[in-house]
Symmetry: C2
Subunit: 144 residues, 2 copies
């Protein structure tokens, strides 16, 4: 897993890419956010350090980071794409009302078993994640 600028540089060089200031700064902020975010949110975060960055650059960079295993796209419910800077598969709580995504640390899923059943249907499974739909504490309070 990539967790330093040096490792990012190595990964980029390995794929004959170029190490740009944008990529360095976006890396820093992705790591600092350490959670779930949309491209739009990341742009806002990065903007002060990189005046004039564009959304297409943020998207392109997130694609690169995804290829390299630095972030993963989270399975969500419509709306904007949510990225996660925790690259191991894990479970999520998704709020139906505001779309917020949170991690859930819970046992209770036999991942290997599930992947096995999936494979037996002819599907080529990569990962199994559990999604709990419901209402987050904030939205529940403001009577949803």
């Amino acid at each position: 897993m990539i967790d330093s600028a040096d490792q990012l540089v190595a990964a980029i060089r390995a794929r004959k890419g170029r190490v740009t200031p944008q990529r360095r700064v976006i890396l820093r902020h992705v790591q600092r956010l350490h959670g779930h975010f949309t491209a739009e949110r990341l742009l806002a975060e990065v903007e002060p350090d990189l005046p004039g960055v564009s959304l297409p650059t943020v998207y392109a960079t997130l694609d690169l980071f995804e290829d390299v295993g630095l972030v993963r796209r989270v399975v969500g419910l419509g709306g904007a794409e949510v990225y996660d800077s925790r690259p191991e598969p894990h479970h999520h709580l998704v709020c139906r009302s505001c779309g917020a995504v949170a991690d859930l640390n819970a046992a209770g899923v036999d991942t290997e078993g599930v992947l096995g059943s999936a494979a037996r249907t002819g599907f080529h499974p990569e990962e199994a994640t559990l999604v709990v739909l419901g209402t987050c504490a904030v939205c529940a309070r403001s009577q949803d």
Copy 2:
């Protein structure tokens, strides 16, 4: 659960809605499809029986059917919204390449336990579904 036109009529009347030919025909096709579909696909399906139906009507009707528990929106990965005419929560295989959604009948998930953990975080869980990401048989064959 609603599984006949009569029950749909009752549910619509209960909410002071109106029983239109569009709603009847769309119900028939949703039941006939008995699986996963997008609004666009459903429109194509329904069009021959209802010349001139509009996409907004299909969306509005799907919203109604969702409220009434006839269909559910499936947790997916970007792309078009996928609806499911199987209203009980169940697990899904989602193809990263073509977006296809299939059901997975697998044990291995302690739903109650997971909902409990979710509730303990202050979240108000409604349902827990497992999503297996990977490549479907068709896409795998055409070397993804």
